[in-house]
């Protein structure tokens, strides 16, 4: 149904909770080798959108295509090509790093699993923690384990919900560099949410501003502020959060 170069295609997606409209008829896409930032204030509908893409929340209406596979009809095939890391979804703390990666590697059907685990363990600098239970790791280390799991199946669509929220600046920079490198070198597209506008400017090729469940703005994070008469992306973010209807188009 979608162009195969689009790893994610969202069409007219909505989610109602009773009388509350959490996501309101949004459409967007993520292409291969592209990092798209999904921005917006708390309650804007970012996590609801990501939950629907991850098939843990049923849309009220609309279509979600992952690498051309309709999620509603081919959930398993679609999710095999995706993965995610979210600050609110750490891996089970009662299993070691290696055990968690083995369990999720099996679930995602990763070929040559032992070798692949070794690769992601090295990639995310987890060698010294491989036999440590995840619950004993610092929040930053847990984030790296979660990212290692997210990269395990070499996903074509990677969803990152505030992936660097609990990392120190140096580690966050390393993680950004790693993801940027992987995204630009392969077939992967990334949908990235963050409240760190510096990070968004550094990493994202394109951003979508979400407010009250609708996409208000879309464009290059380095050009958008000027186009709307703002000094910086952070200023634009604040404007979207506080006065979404008062934005000026330059």
């Amino acid at each position: 149904m979608e162009d195969v170069r689009e790893v994610l295609a969202i069409k007219n997606l909505s989610k109602h909770y009773g009388g509350t409209l959490a996501v309101d008829d949004i459409s967007f896409s993520v292409a291969q080798n592209e990092i798209v930032g999904l921005l917006g204030p708390n309650g804007a509908g970012k996590t609801t959108t990501i939950s629907m893409i991850l098939a843990v929340l049923e849309p009220t209406c609309g279509e979600i295509g992952i690498t051309g596979i309709d999620l509603a009809r081919g959930r398993k095939a679609a999710l095999k090509k995706a993965n995610f890391s979210a600050v609110y979804a750490p891996l089970p703390g009662n299993l070691t790093v290696w055990q968690n990666l083995r369990v999720f590697g099996l679930i995602y059907g990763v070929p040559d699993l032992t070798q692949r685990i070794q690769e992601v363990v090295e990639e995310f600098d987890l060698e010294s923690f491989r036999n440590t239970k995840c619950g004993l790791l610092s929040s930053g280390e847990q984030t790296r384990v979660s990212l290692a799991k997210a990269m395990l199946n070499k996903p074509e669509l990677l969803l990152l919900d505030e992936p660097t929220a609990s990392l120190d600046p140096a580690t966050a920079r390393d993680v950004r560099t790693q993801i940027r490198r992987v995204a630009s070198g392969g077939r992967m597209g990334v949908l990235w949410t963050s409240h760190n506008m510096y990070e968004v400017e550094e990493v994202c090729d394109r951003v979508l501003f979400l407010s009250h469940g609708k996409i208000l703005l879309e464009g290059d994070p380095r050009l958008l502020p000027a186009q709307h008469g703002k000094e910086s992306l952070e200023e634009l973010f604040v404007a979207v959060a506080r006065e979404p209807l008062g934005l000026r188009v330059a």
Partner: protein, 267 residues
């Protein structure tokens, strides 16, 4: 169905067992205590009974079989609760795992843990109190099979309850075997029950197992027709349980319960 996904659920459970004595000991400790307690009770009853009835195969055998049912049910539930306790729902259900893979993994995990408990019960009951399950003859096979199927069905229903009502609802499921046991006449003939309870009992597969067990102990043939019916009923309960879990899961997807699963977020 994906064998690898199902194997992953079992492997997860194996890792948890291997790394925690707190998970291994309860597999056999509680059933062992039950067998010891009821073993001495049957010895005492044998010593004071004026008849020549041997209470070991009727009472202790019934305890062993009922504990087997409980182990199967809780085996399924515990494997599911591991995902609840470790807040792993999002990682698990945002993956390519299907409901079929997941439930199959819970069932296989239960088989793994039940075997440990059953072995412990058989060893203690045999070595200390002289109970041989083989004294029930070929009927032992349908006894174990029906109780296993019904245990799986109840385990799946219990997981659906926790999924629908939230982690705090785990307290609803621990007493389930105790609530069912008076109806299925574990220790007394079905005819002892009031009329309305007998009707309920006829809908529960274990009732036929324990009636047959008592028939064998009294030197009669097992109630073959009843056993066949209990097998059909157990299969029906499995289908009903699978349907219930599937419907609850779909409800959870619609309402966003999986995405924001927590003790206070589900109602």
């Amino acid at each position: 169905m994906s064998f690898a996904s199902t194997a992953a659920i079992v492997l997860r459970q194996f890792y948890l067992m291997r790394g925690s004595s707190a998970r291994i000991v309860p597999l056999f400790a509680w059933v062992a205590i039950d067998i010891v307690l009821w073993g001495f009770m049957t010895r005492y009853l044998n010593s004071i009974s004026s008849t020549r009835v041997n209470f070991v195969p009727s009472l202790l055998g019934a305890v062993l079989l009922w504990d087997f049912f409980g182990r199967v049910m809780f085996g399924v539930t515990m494997a599911f609760l591991e995902d609840v306790w470790s807040r792993n729902f999002l990682n698990m259900f945002a993956s390519p795992v299907t409901i079929g893979d997941y439930v199959a993994g819970l069932v296989l995990s239960s088989m793994m843990t039940t075997c440990v408990g059953l072995l412990a019960m058989i060893l203690i009951a045999g070595a200390v109190f002289g109970l041989s399950l083989f004294s029930y003859g070929i009927a032992l096979l349908p006894f174990l099979l029906v109780l296993f199927l019904f245990g799986i069905a109840m385990g799946i229903v219990a997981t659906a309850i926790v999924l629908r009502c939230g982690p705090a609802a785990e307290w609803f499921i621990w007493p389930l075997p105790a609530i069912i046991s008076p109806f299925v006449s574990v220790f007394y003939p079905l005819s002892t029950l009031p009329h309305w309870m007998q009707w309920v009992a006829r809908l529960l597969p274990p009732s036929y197992i324990f009636e047959s067990l008592r028939a064998i102990v009294q030197g009669r043939d097992p109630w073959w027709a009843g056993l066949a019916l209990s097998g059909l009923l157990a299969m029906g309960y499995i289908l009903l349980a699978g349907f219930t879990f599937s419907e609850v899961f779909r409800f959870a997807l619609r309402r966003g319960l999986i995405a924001r699963y927590g003790a206070e977020s589900v109602s």
